[in-house]
Symmetry: C2
Subunit: 407 residues, 2 copies
């Protein structure tokens, strides 16, 4: 693996300063090739699907694994959006003359080599390469073994496009064996960043083993808190949207918190609107609407499904405490017309995105105007929340002198 990492580093040095036009040309050629070779891709993907069926993978996993005409068109559309994004490299973040007379420039530069570890979603291969590459980084991809054939053909197409453009193939390398991960995670001299995307076990494993800085894209246990001064009609629609518009994603609501003074008027309306959702409530909730009993386990669970846990709280402070205790620092919302409650919630909820009077589903790179994203970071260092092109860069200081020495 050390050879893989060293080659990735060399490749990263080669592409750190190439111009935007060449980078966009490469991504554009990749679009053309994906469209031209879609039958080949679908045929390789069908090998993975066959194996997955034999292994009795769940239908949700098989669905994520599947590539068809529409999904390939979606990948191409994603690439076109990345082409349209401004190249972050070379941006002058700050510049000023120092008291010594030296002129300081803080400029945006690539990070270097990024290791992506992900599960059976072959589209991540294409997205990750394009985002890392446009930010001037080389990438080492370790995809889930269930997507092996799909990832192989996609990585092969990427490497052929790179070679055709006289760029090193090692800008994008696929690693296949699971055992390689252990070794890669120790190579902090050559790899600059690891991004694990997947289930709790994978993330914990990486955080424990890695000597390389890690940015987690961890689970989303997202809350909506309906305050005593909420507009009830708004609250019902915001909650319905946060839970039901796309329940399988990380910014969907998992737990609803309701102020005790508004529970009796709000909860029956909510239950009616959410007739398709399995409700699990605390004792007080179950005194008002029909719901299964919620246990402490429920406050810690990311359902990613049409299930909602509900808890009645005594105050906005209690809601904040619950969120800071059980949440995953992802996306949490308050519904209220009371400015002081809004401010209290905004200041004290320790999450990457805090919402007032709207759905948590808006936590998204496109919605925030960052363009395509590599994921939503749930940690605090370097990048927090949606992680786009700019978050795949670092900076350096350039100091332009005229013979200055320090006194």
């Amino acid at each position: 693996m050390i050879e893989t990492a060293k080659k990735a580093k060399e490749a990263a040095f080669r592409i750190a300063n190439i111009d935007s036009k060449l980078k966009n040309n490469v991504i554009s050629s990749l679009c053309t090739e994906l469209e031209k070779r879609k039958n080949e891709i679908i045929s390789e993907n069908s090998i993975d699907l066959e194996k997955g069926k034999k292994k009795n993978l769940s239908s949700a996993i098989l669905d994520r694994l599947k590539l068809d005409d529409k999904r390939i068109a979606g990948m191409v559309e994603g690439l076109r959006q990345i082409i349209a994004l401004e190249d972050p490299i070379g941006e002058v973040i700050e510049e000023r003359k120092l008291r010594s007379g030296i002129f300081l420039k803080k400029v945006r530069v690539p990070i270097g080599v990024i290791l992506m570890i992900f599960e059976a979603r072959p589209n991540v291969t294409i997205d990750s390469f394009a985002l890392c590459f446009k930010a001037g980084n080389s990438v080492i991809l370790k995809g889930g073994s269930d997507a092996l054939h799909s990832n192989r053909i996609l990585a092969k197409i990427i490497q052929e496009v790179l070679a055709k453009n006289k760029l090193p193939e090692e800008c994008c390398q696929l690693v296949e064996s699971h055992e390689a991960i252990d070794e890669l995670l120790k190579l902090n001299e050559h790899i600059d960043l690891v991004i694990p995307r997947g289930g709790e076990r994978l993330i914990k494993f990486v955080v424990e083993k890695s000597m390389i800085p890690v940015i987690m894209h961890y689970k989303g246990i997202c809350h909506t808190y309906v305050d005593k001064d909420a507009d009830i009609k708004n609250a019902v629609e915001i909650c319905y949207n946060a839970k039901c518009q796309r329940p399988g994603v990380c910014n969907a609501m998992e737990t609803l918190l309701v102020h005790k003074d508004v529970a009796k008027s709000f909860l029956p309306k909510l239950a009616e609107r959410m007739s398709s959702v399995e409700l699990r409530g605390c004792e007080r909730t179950r005194g008002i609407i029909k719901a299964k009993p919620a246990t402490k386990e429920d406050w810690n669970t990311e359902y990613l499904d049409l299930i909602l846990s509900i808890k009645i709280v005594d105050s906005v402070d209690d809601a904040i405490s619950h969120i800071n205790k059980y949440g995953s620092k992802h996306s949490d919302a308050i519904v209220t017309e009371d400015k002081r409650a809004q401010e209290n919630f905004l200041k004290r909820v320790d999450s990457s995105s805090v919402f007032v009077n709207c759905s948590t589903r808006f936590n998204d790179g496109f919605e925030y105007g960052l363009g395509a994203e590599i994921g939503i970071s749930t940690q605090k260092l370097h990048a927090r929340g949606p992680m786009g092109l700019r978050e795949l860069t670092t900076y350096k200081y350039l100091l332009l002198g005229h013979g200055e020495i320090r006194k």
Copy 2:
């Protein structure tokens, strides 16, 4: 240790939103107390010094350990500079209306709990607390055991000042046992960031064991490259300053690279100017000036002393390769009048600060206008180069809606 970490987290929530005036008052009271109690501090420090002498600690370590009137005045002066710095918390980094109608604000917030691990420099106790606190963070300090009595009295004074201002003492906790480090480094649910400062062994240990994000303040193997188009007189003074003005610090030059075409005219002048420095040269260097032979080991060594290794190279490209191979991504300089060589060097040297025609000694938070610094980061994620107040913060997104739901 989990109790220590939990209390630090609670304390961090308490101080995350307190106003600048209160924070400055606390630091100002700390100045008063340090001055008032300096005899007590010096007396506790003398216990450490006695023990250190019995343990045969080197005179360099004993010197760093020592606190006297002048050093305490220096600590107070450092605190006054921190008071004068603008409070970074609450700064609106970006704001805009999104296409959904939601108003987005990206605001600067504290990181939370910071664990500082450092060696026998008691002044770090005071600096670290003040910087972390002004940025709204609580700090857990694990200082070197050789400074135990000094750190105890300083931490006690800090905690008394916090208590007097009705703030939780747990904003600043001192941890004494070395074994505690192992346990602390696993508490990634409660501690947000570790900053180790010290020798290679300490840093490697922390990087290997930590499940918490680490920002390293690692060694400085800094280079100056004298190009064929250098102004020779400037080059001699820049090199002399980079090596000799303060040889024991991380931004001092350790290796000098010289273009072959200029070696014969430059090196004798340099050797004359650096008569007090032990020179170690490659074979070609030793054909021109008197120097001990340099081995590969020398290219990897941070002397922190009046020793300089010298290598003659064939081109600016060779100089860049040497630096990217042996350097520590800290501070590297080129001396040349050739604009193309400057640009090549600035673009391709992978260090946090790259200098043209001036001394590497300028890599410093004060010189860069950041104010006091907690150190100079040699890694790429989150903070690179001098790490001041702003680098001790993160951000969150506030989304202010009016009932928006996602379609």
